[in-house]
Symmetry: C2
Subunit: 389 residues, 2 copies
Amino acid sequence: MSNHHVSNKALNIEPFHVVSLITRAMELEKQGKKIVNLVVGEPEFKTPKPIIDSAIKSLEQNKIRYSPSLGKVELRESISKWYQDREKINISYNKIAVTSGSSAALLLTMAVLLNPGNEVIISDPSYPCNRHFVTAMEGIANCVPVDSKTNYQLNLEKVKDNWTEKTKAVLVSSPSNPTGGILDYEELEKIYSFVCSQGGYLIVDEIYRGISYDKEPVSAVALGENVFVINSFSKFFCMTGWRLGWLVAPEKFVEKIEHLAQNLYISNSDIAQDAALSAFSPDVVSQLDSNLIHYKEQKDYLMNELLRIGFKIPVEPKGAFYIYADASNFTDDAYKFCWKVLEDIGVAIAPGLDFGDYLSNIHVRFSFPKTINIMSEGIKRIDNYLAKT
Amino acid sequence: MSNHHVSNKALNIEPFHVVSLITRAMELEKQGKKIVNLVVGEPEFKTPKPIIDSAIKSLEQNKIRYSPSLGKVELRESISKWYQDREKINISYNKIAVTSGSSAALLLTMAVLLNPGNEVIISDPSYPCNRHFVTAMEGIANCVPVDSKTNYQLNLEKVKDNWTEKTKAVLVSSPSNPTGGILDYEELEKIYSFVCSQGGYLIVDEIYRGISYDKEPVSAVALGENVFVINSFSKFFCMTGWRLGWLVAPEKFVEKIEHLAQNLYISNSDIAQDAALSAFSPDVVSQLDSNLIHYKEQKDYLMNELLRIGFKIPVEPKGAFYIYADASNFTDDAYKFCWKVLEDIGVAIAPGLDFGDYLSNIHVRFSFPKTINIMSEGIKRIDNYLAKT
């Protein structure tokens, strides 16, 4: 097509390659091929039964209606209580917006902050959609290379070096997708102070919070007033397909976030909200905490196996459920490598390209919330394939 | 707060007053007040049981996962078949995107079309969020006054008169919220031809399709390739709180819409999609069609009563479930009137201001998908109130 009919922001938005790979993997499965899926970022664990039961109860009552745009007050209060109980942090529910996945939390944050041309500092590599939320709001994502030296995270120095008069915010993710890197609370405080001194805002994506292999640092909501914290029911709570998340925002932005949410979303899924009310009960939380034992086993297994067959892993993941592996022993075109591996041997892994430009040609991301059996089949196929090529 | 921290697009987005009124009405109800809700635009009918049952089945299987960003293929195929069966129009499922409510369909449409400064012609009055989707994407909503002379709809002449070199699209809603006006297919064809001749696009919001009191014109999907048609499971299918809708888009835009959807939404509610697969079965559709008898009775009742107590209704609604009433016998500040009526006598109605500027100070919108009992209580309170003031 002649592209002049498509908006520039749409032209600037790249495909989310992981999703394209998943879609192709599904097609191959329909054709009868047995695919090893190490690409999708979702827990193998089912949604805990009490959450399912609450959803069924809500359906049986059959009063599935529009609800307040910032979320049902009960659920906002439950999230506030969660911060109190789990993190010992006091956050008024007034600052909490329930959103249609963390996707909506990110869109609302960028919409309320960015004028055209405003910059947001983001690490490269990072979650692909982050930079595209900025683009969609006509902002500019200033993607700053990070590597194993800083656990694939920004630090004060990098933020200072890349801050310009157009910068409105810094976005960090901890634990990070795709690297599993965690940002020290101390470093986060330094970044926050600097950002505040410049009249800017810090955005912290905590959607993998709860999935950490060492003690987790304090949540960024404790930093102060000028921080936006994004979270989700998708990962720790095993609720990907429900599309529910939340945003803790500075109080002074809440009214405008509400207006945006009223207009752009009307409301969240009523069923998902009713279900999520059961997500914080002690039995559910203890079940979810026990998932960590499995994630850790899976991570240790996959790390050892990847190292054995020749991948390099400069930093062991401290959280989330991904390994960002250096594939330079096998390829300098990781994108092509991922598609070939999918088509030739039916193993789905994510190309570095999804997460940025910096050294993305030699990196691939493995997702490990999978049974050892599945991963072992994937490793076997890749090992054989590498031996032949 | 000092507003310079909030983006201009957020500052330019007005509250969705209907939602603010509903939120306030809920507060008053919690305080024990009995509220007559004639404000919310949602059917009183429950979601049909086969749809509920499918959702419960999906939950019992507990495989609620991410799904393709444009929607599950089965559901896209079902929507395609719906156009074939109901409208005798052949639309490939490839052109159909399932979206998180029609809200997401509108956002994706504006995102894929608009560069900053691009104009979209919209009628005034019209659905409030329409102009704000344009604003959020840094476009300019060119709101063109319409009145009873054109059934509160745009026509070729108005489109021609307001087309500028910056205009990218025309957005019409038929049946319209807040007026219930329907646009003739013939006039729509003329507008479409003109828009095409200018290299622009026509966007048609058909979310009230199926709720019409005369024979409905053909769906706008039949117009040709340069039309975006937005629809929803909320209204005809009685699924407001589920948040599911769809978009029929020109084929050449679909790839970019997919990239946008991947990044901005990831995927739709898995449960809602599984449920919606049952929405097109003949028994469900015949139940939904029979709802119309009630809507018509309710409309006739409310029209007569409003006229009796002194409101003016220049055009009888031909579709949707709203009456856009002229309240000039009682007020020239309809916004204040609505809030006073809510606070003083507990009747919730929507101010004209939500729907635009043109004569909005003397208009209010009544929603009539309510039992006669509820409406009768509302009319009684308003009549007494007007007698006293």
